[in-house]
Each structure stands twice: as structure tokens, then as C-alpha cells.
Amino acid sequence: MTGNSDKVKGKMLKLLKNDFLASARVIPLFYLIEIAALCAFFIGRYAEKPKILTAGVIVSVIVSFLLVFVSLFFVIYDYQKSLFGQQGYLSFTLPVNSKQLLGSKVIVYGMWMVVSFVNFVLVLDILAVYIQKEYGETIDTASSLLSAFANFPSKAQIVTYAIYYILEFFTIILSCTIIVYFAIALSHIRQFQKTNIIWAVIISAAAIIIGLVCIYYLEKFFGVYLVLGDDKSFTFDFGDPTSQGMQLTLMPYLFMIIQDIIYFFVTAHIMHKRINIK
């Protein structure tokens, strides 16, 4: 039993490794360009070469912005090509199941998406600090960041608040990735295969709209809130929040997590049962 589960884990790691290697052939090039641009920016600043500095700023902002779209493109392109193109003959005959095939793609490309967003925010932050300094403002970034949390009565609440927003961010990216994968898989069943690109767009849009409508009504009638109380307390409120303090709504993320699990298993089922590689 243990040997069998080790083999399953081993194959999953190999899938992750190979999916990562396949994706790592193009995406890191953009990061290298961005690093080069940031280096140019710092060199330009300290050597007082305004042209190099300006070029560094422009290129790093454009590339960090582009990276979000490049990552999104690869999320779609690699999934479509490696599973539903002719390469599917290779992928679907590997000694793994469809949940492993799908799980590996979600993890690897979800990671690239998260990295690209974090990278974009970091690049903008670096440049924002620089620009503020250039305009003569001496700002202590750490204290200015903490001033946003000045109203929180305890450190535990600050940590909770930060974790809440980080998890929110990951949940949204994961949700979008899985919805896109579900839509692409469904668009490749026989009924939709001829115009699969159009169907993939329609299905993605429909899934997002249905999700948003569900979230709206769930929040309206079955709201779940984490309330960071003024008296340093943490309480959960259901329905209309009555406790005093900062209310963090949990229902959208609970819904998205459940939705992601459902879409994951439905997509794996479609890949296993309904796909015929041409």
C-alpha cells in the first residue's frame, strides 16, 4: 500500500518537474529582462545617468506588466497544447491519472501567475518609493506601511488581516486558473470541439458570472464574517454582522474554495471520460 502511494507521489513529482521545465523555457527570460532593467535603473540612479535610469524604469514596468499576461498566456497555451493537441497522445498515455495531470498544471501555472502578480506589485513599489524620494519626500516605508494598521488594537489582528488578504489573492488566482482549465476541457468534448475557442470563452464567462451571482446571494442571505473587534477580540458573525470592529467577509472565499474543488473534479472527469484526442 505504501509502495503504491510512494509511486503515485513519485509520478506526481515527475509531472510537476516536467511541467515546470516546459514552462521554464520561456517565462524566466522575461524575468531576466526585468532584472536587467532594474539593474539599469539602479546603475542610472547611482551613476546619475538619467537616460539609463529612465530606460530602466520604463522597461521594468512594461516587462513586469507584460509578465502577468505572459503567465496567463502560458496557463492557457500549455494546458491546451499539451493535453488537447497532438501532444495529448503523450500526456494521456503516461501512467498517471487525469487528476494528477490536471493538478500538476494547476500548481505549476498557478505558481507562475502568483509570482507574476507579486513581481508586478514589488516592481511598482520599488519605483514608487524612488519617485517619492526624487520629489523630495523622505519617507520611511516601513512606518508608512504600518500607519495603515494604526487602528488595529493588536499585532495578532494585523497578522490576521494580512493573511486574509494574501489568502484572498491566492484564492482568486486559483479560482480563475481552474475556471479557465474547466472551460478549455469542456470546449474539447465532441459537441463543442469544432468551435472550441469560442466555447472556451463563453464557458469561462458563464462560469465567472454564475460564480459572482452565487457569491452575491450567499453573502446576502448566509454571510459569514470574521470580526476583528475593537477590544482585540476575534469573533465569527453569521448573517448581518452585529459585533463592533473590522468585518472581513469570508463567504466569497469559502464559496470559491468549494467551487474550485468541484471544478477540479469535474474537469478531471471530463478529461478522463469525455475527451478524444484528434
Binding site: S82, Q87, T93, P95, N97, R190, N276
Partner: protein, 235 residues
């Protein structure tokens, strides 16, 4: 000998088009089997079911006693008629990729075969000629010590000299005791190496026999094939 493939009442449809209709047969291991039939007879669909590429069918399909799935995929070496290599893969990448997933893959043998077949290790698959890609895919399949080899039209679309080369490579590299199933309509080229045949037409099993029994009547497999399918091509 034991039963390596068992098919019972297999039916597969694409919408209203029934490509396999209540097909039943079983195959003993250790043989070279020709899966014969004209284009559109259901050979590729049957192969896709055996290799776990198609899973929505009715009837029973067993490969070494198991329903096609992750476990049977580890014992089946499959050569599709399409080129399936990723565009980023070089010959070396492809060989290492397969070695990663299949415990029965002989990496050293594959590296040597790349040289024997004069395939550049570092050339990307997308820039290779069709012949080079077919050779590479053949290496990926025949360097496995698999229990079952399923080859879909391995000699389709290549010239007669290449056909001989491909067939010789398959026979030479097939491990003793393994089962080899080849689908083709180029019967003349392969009938000399076959132990038995399965003939499929119009979605039905039309004939299953040993080559020794068939040829004992004085006819070749090619002639029997023409007799069976002659009615499809009458004016």
C-alpha cells in the same frame, strides 16, 4: 500462454456514428498480432480504448486483467499514428521525459539508438523531418521493456525502404515474450512476421485467426483481406 487482452461486447459511438459494434475477442500473450481493416474500420478507436485514451464506451475491456487506466498504461508501449512530441523537446529531452515516467525504459539503449538512427541529440523535434520524428517516436516505444506494444499504423505514410527499416527495428527490439499488436492496412509488408490476425470492418469483428491456420489453405493474409473487404469496393 495467458490472456493478455480481453474484449467483450465492446461498443463505441461518436454521436450517432457507431464505430465499434459489440466487438468481442481475446488475445494470448507473447504473440505478434495484426489488427487489420480498411481506413475508418474502427482500428484506431479500438487502440485508443486499449491504451486508455478513450474511456467512454460500453462493454468490457481488460488489459492483463485490468481495466485500462494508469496501471495498464505503465505496461503498454503505444506508438500513435500522429506525431506527439512537444515542440520544445529535443531528442535528448524526449528520451529523458519517457525515462522519467516509465520504469521499464532503457535510457542507455535509447541514447545508443539515437546514434544508430543518426538522430541529432540536441535538435528540437519541431525542426526534424517527418522521417526523423517517426524514428524518434519508434525509439521511445521500442526502448521500453513493456509487456504489450501497440503500434498504430507504424508504417503509414513512409516509403517501402523505410517500412522495411521500421519493421526490422520493431521485431529486433521487441522483448521476448511480449505481445505486439500492429494496426495496418499494408498487410503485404507485415504478414511474414505475424502470428495471428484480428480483422475489423464496419465496426464489427470479421475474423480472428492464426496466420498458420489461414495460410494452410494456400492463401496469403493479403488475399484473405481482399476477399473479406472486396464487397466494400465493388462498382
Amino acid at each position: 500462454m495467458s490472456e493478455i487482452i480481453k474484449i467483450n461486447g465492446l461498443t463505441k459511438s461518436y454521436g450517432s456514428n457507431r464505430v465499434l459494434n459489440n466487438v468481442s475477442f481475446s488475445l494470448e500473450d507473447g504473440q505478434i498480432i495484426g489488427l487489420l481493416g480498411p481506413n475508418g474500420s474502427g482500428k484506431t478507436s479500438l487502440i485508443k480504448i486499449l491504451t486508455g485514451l478513450i474511456n467512454d464506451y460500453s462493454g468490457e475491456v481488460l488489459v492483463d486483467g485490468l481495466k485500462p487506466g494508469a496501471k495498464t498504461k505503465s505496461m503498454v508501449a503505444y506508438l500513435p499514428e500522429k506525431t506527439y512530441l512537444a515542440s520544445w523537446m529535443t531528442a535528448d529531452d524526449a528520451v529523458k521525459y519517457i525515462a522519467d515516467f516509465y520504469d521499464d525504459f532503457d535510457l542507455d539503449k535509447a541514447m545508443k539508438m539515437l546514434d544508430t538512427f543518426q538522430l541529432p541529440h540536441k535538435q528540437k523535434a519541431r525542426t526534424m523531418s517527418k522521417g526523423q520524428q517517426e524514428k524518434l517516436q519508434l525509439i521511445l516505444v521500442m526502448c521500453r521493456n513493456a509487456k504489450i506494444y501497440i503500434l498504430d499504423e507504424p508504417m503509414g505514410g513512409v516509403d517501402p525502404a523505410a517500412r522495411d527499416f521500421i519493421l526490422a527495428s520493431i521485431i529486433k527490439n521487441r522483448p521476448e515474450g511480449s505481445t505486439l499488436m500492429m494496426s495496418t492496412h499494408l498487410i503485404h509488408d507485415i504478414e511474414g512476421v505475424l502470428d495471428s490476425i484480428v480483422m475489423i470492418g464496419r465496426g464489427k469483428l470479421l475474423m480472428q485467426d492464426t496466420v498458420a491456420h489461414l495460410t494452410s489453405t494456400g492463401k496469403t493474409v493479403n488475399e484473405v483481406f481482399k476477399e473479406v473487404f472486396a464487397s466494400d469496393w465493388q462498382f
